[in-house]
Symmetry: none
Subunit: 215 residues, 4 copies
């Protein structure tokens, strides 16, 4: 199962790192810091995370941290951009959803990918949910990634005959999918992966056709 911090090596670095050409050791250190950041944001949330926590988790020093990132926000931004692009890739992959069993399976498979992506980037997504990030730029990034999903889902709903407003319904469904994943990961909600996907797929599927007289 995917876990936070999995995935390909992250491409870009924080502001200070971009001014320098990183060699092998430098890239290694930066990866350690990014992984540590993900871990700490996961455990403590964004606001409560301290640079000290990150450098302890990365087994490095304060001085080193600031060689690679301007500050905590800069570190988060790098992680966040990676998350946004994963979400955009995900959005791109949602094909048309038919009313019957076939459509249900398409949706379920796509939701399985969402769940996986959420687990990889959960700490970042949850941090976005911490209502009040310091910087508008980060808030915008968060909105963007959810918007990408919602827009694509709205397109798919618009292809149906339902009477529900596609834009609104899409946002509501994204809200549900995101939040249920949050409950499962962060609260004590116990539910196995199959049941989670069945539940989400069922509701999203009928939700997409809500008000459709043909059903």
């Amino acid at each position: 199962m995917a876990r936070p911090g999995d995935g390909p090596p992250l491409p870009t670095g924080g502001a200070p790192a971009q001014l320098r050409a990183l060699r092998a050791q430098g890239r290694r250190t930066m990866r350690k810091l990014l992984a540590a950041g993900m871990k700490v944001f996961d455990e403590r949330g964004y606001q409560a995370a301290r640079v000290d926590d990150v450098v302890k988790a990365a087994r490095t020093s304060h001085g080193t941290f600031y060689l690679y990132f301007a500050n905590k926000e800069d570190l988060f931004r790098v992680l966040a951009e990676d998350c946004v692009s994963a979400m955009e890739d995900l959005a791109d992959d949602l094909g048309p959803v038919a009313p019957g069993t076939e459509g249900y399976e398409v949706l379920r498979a796509w939701l399985a990918r969402f769940v996986d992506t959420y687990r990889r980037h959960g700490p970042v997504i949850r941090a976005w949910a911490e209502a009040h990030l310091d910087s508008p730029e980060l808030a915008r990034l968060g909105g963007a990634s959810m918007n990408a999903l919602a827009s694509r889902i709205a397109e798919r709903i618009a292809e149906q005959d339902g009477s529900v407003d596609p834009g609104h319904a899409a946002v509501a469904l994204v809200a549900m999918v995101e939040r249920l994943n949050y409950y499962v990961l962060s609260r004590g909600i116990t539910i196995d992966d199959d049941a989670l996907l069945d539940t989400l797929a069922s509701i999203v599927h009928v939700g997409m056709f809500a008000g459709d007289p043909g059903r």
Copy 2:
């Protein structure tokens, strides 16, 4: 429309206040602090809120704050307990939901009450969502209030003939309702109250019957 901090005078005080006999002026000051706390948690979130912000908003002094509350967490706990009891009242009021238009209207009316309650206690609910509160007790309170809603909805779903797991579906629907309200209040999502209720009611209604062959 309801706004954060509206509602009946809060019954209990923080730890220090409970040890003393409050007179009229004292009760007034405590209410000022509670209202100020709600405002500040709303504007800055729980973690970022400083006692200093609260006392400024309440136009009083640090010393006074600590006459009534042991610390920020204590203030939050009082607000949170009030929120929990509002949520429990709300849960009690959800009657049976029939499949047709009648059931839809019942649901929509109840969701209107939820939206109202959310707006009154939104800052608290959003703070619960800040993944990591300092104390387990507070986290538990948050879980309790959402659980109260989910259990009642699960009961209502169980009365239907759908094939979806009532417990899981209920949690998913609560997640959706909560989070969409959050998006609307805290993100820039613009959607008027009627459309919000239509969307939620439609999806929750079909969601409750998901997998019902009779539909």
Copy 3:
């Protein structure tokens, strides 16, 4: 057995009380505060004692405290003056001490009175021992009371034929008597009253004749 705060009603009040004519209720309140002060100094020491502790122990209010005393130091000063006069009375009562059994018994009886007085005024004496009182006046009071004892004992030593310096020996013996009482009351030293008196009387008695070739 004597306990802190026993003894006759204290004659004088703190600075603010002396400006007013106290009636029955006022005198009662002042006595409550003095007794509470003794209790709190006993339990927490002078420096750590807070006005708040005193008013809680006296079951009265901050406002009331300042009707009777200018501050914590003022309260202490009243207790301290009472202690000084008790010490002076005690010093006056030490008669000549002969070398043999008779002298031993005289000394032992007098030490019994000292022990009793120490128990009554222990909190004050221990506060004096808190090396650093805020005000020189209080430090002087403390020194005065121990000096009164030491001078009288020095006189008694000077009447003997020993070679020890009477002034120095007297201070040393007072130091011992005071501190052993402190150990017994404040540390866990368990020793019954008779053994305590035997020990003190034996050592003080031989100490007074130290260097006396006739022994």
Copy 4:
């Protein structure tokens, strides 16, 4: 003459310092803080000492203090442990004490070492005497160091033929020695070192044989 803070470099650090590997500069800073702590405890007593006083005396910053010690108590504990071990060393060095001149000289020499040790660690010992330390652990440390001395002296008394209870007499004599040193250092008692030692040695010596019919 010995002065507070003299002596070998202290081996252990406070809680936070023990988690880190200190380099030369770090060890230097820690020593500065320990010396400053000794100075401030000496001048103001434990309770009245502020972290602010310590950092000013050490010419460093608040932040730095907390790199090395968890708080004032932690700093004191380190100093106290050093004092305890000095007292234990001292206790180990008291050999048998004979009745005559020879024994007197042995005792006097040992008391000279005590006086020296007291001067080195006086601030700590006096702080222990501030009846009420915050933590029981610190109080226990204080008791331990005086107990070490008293037990050894009790052994020496038990070797004599006197009728006085060795345990009780030993505590009384330690009380005297400690307290007289305190009076000399902290009160205005003027007495030169030779006279101080003569006085203490005379009284302790006869005290050890109190009740001995052979004298």
